[in-house]
Amino acid sequence: MPVDDKQAFVADIARTHGTRLRQFLARKLRTAEQDIPDLVQEIYLRLMRVQHHEAIRSPQAYLFTMAFHVIYQHRLSLAAVPEAVDILDALADSDAYAEDDPAALLDARQRLAEMDRVLRQLPRNVHATFVLSRRYGYTLDEIAQHLGVSRGMVKKYLARAMAHFRLNFAAKEPQK
């Protein structure tokens, strides 16, 4: 379909399903680790195929939507039901799929405890910024005002927390 239509479509998906899309991705990225390199390759190739990338108004929504589709199709191929799926059906389906998985729930709880531990390794400003932003939904400006730092600094704190999590999460798990 033409870029504009595709854009509108992706924007609509991101608007209606944004949170759920991210949650699905979050879950799948954790549990499908063996296949991640292949999946990422596929997502990357699709991204490269985009012709007028400068016209994409929300590159992240586009990326997430594509990633969702790739991961979902991968799951279907595992289940030996190879067929083209409509992304809206996939989204409706992913809803039920995500929730009735006790192992995922337990995993999520352990991850939160681990996240909390890693959070405490960070300077107070960084720690507080992350929690205020993510847990309490404060905006950058609100955090800047409350902590008495610049808005740019709040962004740096947030990025620092994210990078720290990524680098230190599950560091104690056995090597494969």
């Binding site: 944004g18 990225l29 680790e33 905006t139 950058l140 008495g148 740019g152 600094m153 962004k155």
Partner: protein, 371 residues
Amino acid sequence: MSTERFKSHTNRQIIEEAAEWFVEINEGEADNETRRRFHAWLSLSPEHVRAYLEMVPLWEEGAELDTGANGDPRALIGWCRAGDNVVPLAVPAGSPQSAEKGSDNRHRGPATVSVRLANRFVLAACVLVAAIGVSAWLYASRGTYSAGLGEQRVIALDDGSKIELNSRSRLKVRFTSATRSVELIDGQALFQVAKDAARPFIVRSGDTQVRAVGTQFDVYRRSGSTVVTVVEGRVAVSSPSSVETERKAERTSDAIGLVAGEQIVVGRATAPRPERTDVAVATAWTQQRLVFFRTPLTEVAEEFNRYNKRELVIKDAELRSFHVSGTFSSTDPASLLRFLRAQPELQVNETSAAIEVSVSAPAAPASASQS
């Protein structure tokens, strides 16, 4: 697990760049130039795509954090400002923020003063919000929008915000240079608010006020109460009856803070308090679904009548305790009727004007519940 495996071949710099891009895209206001650079960065390598995608779980899980001892944002702010450990942060080259180096903590005063100031700021903000709520009535500027029976519509506002209006709902929008005000006159709407820190977005439903800056939330004005559900971000809910809130910190301000995934029912006899909820259920109506989980039949009828010309009428008072669980299509009200007919405890009579539900003849189970 995954993290350990990836760490060996996703290097630190890529992770740091990914983290900065993630924050920039999710929290900043990305202009054309930023978007172009973001795409260029992603295109450099699949490793970049992967590092970026791997930020998603961390971001999502952050919203679920159990904050324990710091279970209150203001306590957290106080704790933060009481410490003086500011660690300089290195910014890698080519990151979205490298152009933005500048003042950081120049404005910090002595910690105790700061905490008091922070509290005072919050109080002042609440007073201001109340004042804005009143003054908004003085500036009429915009019209009324409504959706008829079985109709749903999306309203795009000048500021970039969007409102999804449910069937049989009506609201009035008034924008001024100081505030964005919406009155929900009847029914239900999902608000996707564009960020504008200078102009708070305030939704009024009866006596209840919901205030947001940039977020997504659902407001449902029922006959005796208002239900507010936050999909993303954070809102402040205030109403005359919320004085006795459980959240001590908000007591002074009469406003209750609500974060993503929480819901509050204002207008019931008990003091309202936020509860965790399934956001997908609360916003299922935007996908033409009616989701009930142990929902009293009277509420089911109220929902049903939002979409159906022939009203569903509950004839017997004892059916108030009859509960319904299930998912139905709001575009196909007959699906709910078929379900009700299949219940042995119920008797369904259709007339040209209404659909009457009563207790079926022989057994009259006062406490029948279906779940």
